[in-house]
């Protein structure tokens, strides 16, 4: 029972990351009609925003170690600590949550540049060409990251106060052995918040209403004298922000390395297709669903029954869904049908 609950939480966590990337992919596809294979790279850049932010905060100066007196020993001490003492250390400790403040404008800027610089020229090209050019872009971005940060995963710890585990078991009366890392809970919560705010933005604001109308019938909205293109470009930026924040928050869970974007992209694409091309709700639902399925499949009970199922469950589900429900779980009629 405990292990099922733990795996359920793990699944929700993974699903949160998948859903956030898939949400952005679907937004871009639904508005601009572009299949963006570089979306995983945006997730990657987000994660490395957190890494960079932490690296900048911990730029250090070599100072004499006061504890060792019989020879000159140097230790690295961050400038922030030298200048601000305890406050500085606290800031360094909170590097990952604080990096969100930097990540949002950076990702917005990157998203807008990408849309105006490249994606714009591919509206009218075939989907195959869109896939290929963004695939090329993804390779370029990933290699740039590798050039600057190397090929090894970079550990990016969460703040000390949440580095332990939460005693969920005692809260709900399941015993003290049932614990779960705090940061993963925070990640799950923030994924929920981000997803809800995207939906709120689309459904409760005028901007969102226009965007939804534009997704439904772009030409008609343009006839009303609204600059649809500009709104859609901003949506691309928003999708980049969502992916970037997801990446930055995921850094403490999975130390970022340069190919993490591609790893998540493939799965997210499968999720978008399972959820139904162009359906935002479908993307989110399929993200969580497949995340949970993947976690449950990795339990020892299941994998002893069906060895290797945890490795292929996502793809297996995708194949079955695509063959039985061609439009995906919640796909609308007439979107991307041959």
């Amino acid at each position: 029972m405990d292990s099922i609950l733990i795996q359920l939480l793990n699944g929700l966590d993974k699903g949160g990351a998948y859903a956030l990337i898939a949400l952005g992919l679907t937004l871009v596809f639904g508005t601009l009609g572009v299949v963006n294979f570089a979306h995983g790279a945006l997730f990657l850049i987000g994660a490395f925003c957190a890494v960079t932010f932490q690296k900048i905060l911990t730029i250090s100066k070599k100072v004499l170690d006061p504890n060792i007196t019989y020879f000159d020993a140097y230790i690295e001490q961050p400038y922030l600590e030298l200048w601000f003492g305890e406050t500085g250390l606290a800031v360094i400790d909170y590097a990952v949550p604080l990096s969100i403040i930097v990540t949002i404008p950076t990702m917005m800027l990157i998203g807008l540049t990408m849309e105006r610089g490249l994606i714009r020229h591919f509206y009218k090209r075939t989907h195959a060409e869109q896939i290929l050019v963004t695939f090329g872009l993804a390779i370029v971005l990933q290699e740039i990251i590798r050039h600057f940060f190397g090929a090894n995963p970079i550990p990016t710890p969460a703040p000390d106060i949440v580095s332990g585990s939460a005693a969920i078991g005692t809260w709900i009366g399941l015993g003290e052995n049932f614990v779960y890392p705090w940061w993963r809970l925070i990640y799950l919560a923030s994924a929920t918040v981000i997803i809800s705010s995207v939906f709120a933005f689309l459904h409760l604001t005028t901007f969102g209403m226009v965007v939804r109308a534009g997704m439904f019938n772009r030409q008609m909205v343009a006839f009303l004298g609204i600059n649809v293109q500009r709104k859609f470009t901003i949506i691309f930026g928003l999708a980049a922000v969502v992916a970037g924040v997801a990446g930055a928050m995921y850094a403490p869970i999975l130390p970022p390395d340069y190919h993490m974007g591609m790893d998540f992209l493939v799965i997210s694409f499968v999720i978008v297709v399972v959820g139904g091309m162009g359906s935002l709700r479908g993307a989110v639902a399929a993200g969580f669903l497949l995340g949970i399925l993947q976690s449950l499949a990795s339990m020892t009970v299941v994998s002893s029954l069906l060895p290797g199922i945890d490795q292929i469950i996502i793809y297996l589900v995708a194949v079955v869904i695509l063959l039985t429900r061609p439009r995906g779980l919640m796909g609308r009629k007439g979107v991307m049908e041959d």
Binding site: H127, V140, I144, V266, A318, P326, D338
Partner: protein, 377 residues
């Protein structure tokens, strides 16, 4: 469509064969004349020619073709381990088994088209890749990769002769497949494969595939069921890939699952597109360009660059080295990505389209010239 259009098929294949077999001579001046690289040219040439039968003719973008390359390699190595070091059975088994797997994957994937087809093939490729590292480890030997061992049974070889000390090498009736003999063997296979591909391009079957690419619905309206043709094309290109995988194992009897990763499928797409999709020679040009550049770029390091720019003043030298260093050595993939983006953005038809454009411009200029001279007269 290609520069040999007016000649007969026979001339084309003869010229092609001559071109491939003399590669050690005409590639010598650009420093590409050594067996390892030459083998790569021809083996990936087979892979790309096969991929082009699917993507070039039907327009179906498969993201899972590396699976067949990997399956081919594994089958070939198992054939070396179990039966004989002779390469022919290995190639036969590899082609057949990858054909079977292609039939299974194609049968399912071809039920959808467009991006759904790409995702389905990608999903199958990921399944095979992940399984190779988990459940299938007894067959694939996991991360270590499958390789020959001293105590392999090798039924046929050991029946006829006592095993010699040391690891045996792959052979074709006593001829070792290392170095240039390996290259010439692969080159002959490439020529045969190219001949088959050319025949397919020019056959009614090829015409049907092209018709599917241009308008599948219309094909259906005129009463032609497209599905068998598509599946056949998928199987054929899968068999080509399996053959290429077997040849990789022939020249170096070691198979690893990284050959099946989806980025490897991406590579063959890059090669095909760079050269020119749907043209006979385009994919081969793409393979040549990419493998040659890869060979050059990944060998360069900072010292070489300093040497290269040493004629300049020191500050300029350091600046240029600092600019170019991310693009060489480990950074070769960065160069590849940029090159690929440039091709897709400006020249979606690949280098072949570029040649055509240049040729057309040259022709129109010379025609105008001749017109103006006639007017003057």
């Amino acid at each position: 469509m290609n520069i040999f259009k007016k000649q007969s098929d026979l001339t084309t294949i003869l010229v092609f064969a001559a071109g491939v077999l003399t590669m050690p001579i005409w590639l010598d001046p650009i420093g590409a004349n050594y067996p390892d690289l030459l083998q790569k040219f021809v083996i990936f040439g087979i892979f790309a020619v096969g991929y082009n039968i699917l993507f070039g003719l039907t327009g179906y973008l498969s993201f899972g073709h590396a699976v067949f390359l990997g399956v081919g390699s594994y089958t070939a190595v198992w054939s070396f381990k179990l039966f004989t070091m002779n390469v022919l059975p290995a190639m036969l088994f590899a082609t057949l088994i990858s054909g079977l797997i292609a039939a299974a994957i194609g049968f399912v994937s071809m039920r959808r088209s467009g991006i759904y087809f790409s995702i389905l093939t990608l999903a199958f490729a990921q399944m095979f890749y992940n399984l190779a590292y988990s459940v299938l480890i007894p067959i694939t030997n996991g991360e270590t990769g499958l390789q020959l061992r001293m105590h392999d049974i090798r039924i046929i070889d050991n029946y006829f002769s006592d095993p010699l000390p040391g690891l045996p090498s792959t052979e074709l009736f006593g001829m070792s497949m290392n170095g240039y003999s390996g290259f010439y063997f692969c080159a002959v296979v490439l020529i045969l494969a190219f001949y088959v591909a050319m025949k397919i391009f020019r056959s009614p079957f090829g015409m049907k595939l092209k018709a599917i690419k241009s308008n599948q619905h219309r094909m259906r309206y005129v009463g032609s069921d497209t599905r068998p043709y598509l599946i056949t094309a998928f199987i054929i290109s899968g068999m080509f890939a399996g053959l290429a995988g077997a040849l990789l194992a022939v020249t170096d009897p070691l198979a690893g699952a990284e050959r099946m990763q989806w980025t490897a499928s991406g590579e063959v797409i890059l090669m095909t597109i760079l050269g020119g999709v749907g043209t006979l020679f385009g994919p081969l040009i793409g393979v040549g360009v990419i493998k040659y550049l890869e060979n050059i770029f990944s060998a360069i390091n900072e010292a070489v660059l300093h040497n290269f720019f040493s004629f300049m003043p020191l500050w300029a030298e350091n600046l240029l080295v600092a600019i170019t260093v991310p693009f060489v050595g480990e950074g070769w993939h960065l160069t590849l990505g940029i090159l690929f983006m440039i091709i897709i953005i400006f020249l979606p038809g690949g280098l072949m389209e570029g040649f055509q454009k240049i040729k057309k411009r040259y022709l129109t200029i010379s025609m105008k010239d001749s017109e103006s001279t006639t007017k003057q007269e």
